[in-house]
């Protein structure tokens, strides 16, 4: 049986203009969980709450089975590598200096591993951070996150704004990491195609609420795109329709394939279709 590396129950955080509502989420060992949602849906808030970097208003968060508000969690942070969307160290710092900073921060810091990542990512050690491109910045953040023997990676938009080549390279790194025994990755991203490529589970946050949490393969099997006329759609069980786009010549709808008549032509939906239609369904 898979054990959960992260277990979230009823997690709530209220801001004056936004609330993360009653979030339940599990991240099993050996898995990559993709957290998807629009800007301001609560993805970064969730990651900060997992690390107890924000005060929650309700619910519980367990990481490696330990309550994240207990004292024991402080030392467990050694086992969590974090990459944030924004820049993370002052621009005058170099990669070499970052290594020294991290060596003074993590007891488990592995300088050899860090230097290995710098070499693999072709990152210059003496160049100031402000001279780095976005891709180099993210690679440096990932190098730091992977150099203290973390077992859990929390990645907040780590592939955003990167060119396809770099994204490809980083996704491979994340997939390799998750494949190691007892490891897991939580990856928040706007780029649904990235999530579709490497995630085992998909969690869709919409306006602070968890709209769905499902195995990716189950989602892809369950949903399909039906292209038909308005009249034909009216004959489809309405419970099976999860959002539609009405055009001049017909209708496109996200449907539950299991409830479709045998003669209906249902195309395979990709993750982006599913997310888009489900978010529209909510706006109805």
């Amino acid at each position: 049986m898979e054990s959960n590396i992260v277990e979230i129950r009823g997690l709530t955080k209220r801001y004056h203009d936004f609330t993360l509502h009653d979030l339940d989420l599990d991240l099993p060992a050996g898995c990559v969980l993709g957290l998807v949602g629009e800007n301001g849906a609560g993805k970064s808030t969730t990651i900060r709450l997992i690390m107890d970097a924000l005060e929650r208003d309700g619910g519980t968060v367990k990481v490696f089975g330990v309550d994240n508000q207990s004292k024991a969690f402080h030392s467990l942070k050694e086992d969590v590598g974090v990459v944030l969307d924004e820049t993370f160290v002052p621009e005058v710092i170099t990669a070499k200096q970052l290594g020294k900073i991290m060596a003074g921060t993590y007891k488990q810091w592995d300088q050899g591993a860090y230097e290995g990542w710098l070499e693999r990512f072709k990152l210059p050690g003496n160049k100031k951070f402000k001279e780095y491109s976005r891709g180099m910045t993210m690679k440096l953040a990932i190098a730091a996150a992977l150099s203290h023997h973390a077992k859990l990676l929390l990645l907040d938009e780590a592939t955003g704004g990167l060119d396809p080549m770099v994204r490809e390279e980083l996704l491979e790194v994340f997939a390799d990491f998750a494949a190691q025994d007892g490891h897991a990755v939580l990856l928040s991203s706007h780029i649904v195609s990235d999530l579709e490529r490497i995630c085992d589970y998909i969690a869709f946050l919409h306006r602070g609420r968890l709209k769905l949490l499902e195995e990716k393969d189950v989602l892809l099997d369950r949903y399909g795109i039906l292209k038909c006329t308005k009249e034909q759609l009216a004959n489809v069980p309405q419970d099976a329709v999860h959002g539609k786009r009405v055009g001049t010549y017909g209708v496109e709808a996200l449907v539950d394939r299991a409830f479709m008549p045998r003669d209906a032509v249902v195309d395979r939906a990709n993750l982006e279709d599913i997310i888009l239609y489900l978010s529209k369904e909510d706006e109805k």
């Binding site: 801001y15 004056h16 900060r48 690390m51 970097a53 924000l54 005060e55 402080h74 030392s75 942070k77 050694e78 969590v80 974090v82 944030l84 924004e86 820049t87 993370f88 160290v89 002052p90 621009e91 005058v92 710092i93 200096q97 020294k100 900073i101 991290m102 060596a103 003074g104 921060t105 993590y106 007891k107 929390l154």
Partner: protein
């Protein structure tokens, strides 16, 4: 904690090196020696201020909260940074009479210099304690103004009170060791209160207040 301090020292490195050299140069020129001491003293609160400004720019606090560091360590590291530069400033203030003695062969009253330095260290540490809560509450931009206002009011009040006391009542200062103990107790008390305030503001800021 060591990592946090290293980060701040790397950030402060070049600009503070220049300030330290300038402070030393000014303190060696006879008519500018007070300017040199003032420069050296300013370092103690200018360096934490600059450090917080750099942190804000890259949202370091968000990242630091993810590291195996407590909020107390994150805040306390700025106080330590101020104290490190207090020590460096003190070193310059001590070094300049020594160098002047070497070059001009004029004797220096080392006991008096020591007493002055201890009191200057006290002033610098109090300045750090007065300034940091303002920076955590208002951020580096507005906080800079509030910090200077607090310092100006603090120094102005101290000068006014001292003048009034010396002008009207002739007070006899206790012996230096007693004065030093009183000053140390005052520094501890002010630092404690300041740290509690900084922690309060830091936590509020982390949770989205003051944005």
């Amino acid at each position: 904690m060591i990592g946090l301090l290293r980060k701040d020292l790397f950030v402060a490195d070049k600009s503070s090196r220049l300030l330290l050299v300038l402070a030393l140069l000014f303190s060696l020129i006879p008519s500018f020696d007070m300017l040199g001491s003032t420069y050296a003293m300013m370092l103690a609160f200018m360096v934490p201020l600059n450090s917080i400004a750099f942190d804000e720019k890259c949202k370091w606090d968000r990242y630091a909260a993810m590291l195996p560091c407590t909020a107390g360590q994150i805040v306390w590291s700025k106080y330590l940074l101020g104290y490190i530069y207090t020590l460096l400033g003190e070193a310059i203030i001590f070094l300049s009479p020594l160098l002047r003695q070497v070059f001009t062969h004029k004797s220096v009253d080392w006991a008096e210099t020591f007493r002055m330095n201890v009191m200057l260290a006290v002033v610098m540490m109090v300045m750090v304690s007065l300034g940091l809560p303002a920076l955590y509450r208002f951020g580096s931009e507005k906080g800079r103004l509030v910090m200077f206002l607090v310092l100006a009011v603090g120094v102005g009040t101290a000068v006014a009170v001292t003048k009034a006391l010396i002008g009207d009542i002739r007070i006899t200062l206790p012996p230096f060791p007693v004065m030093a103990c009183i000053a140390a107790a005052a520094v501890i008390a002010v630092t404690y209160l300041s740290f509690r305030m900084s922690m309060w503001f830091y936590r509020k800021r982390q949770n989205g207040a003051y944005c």
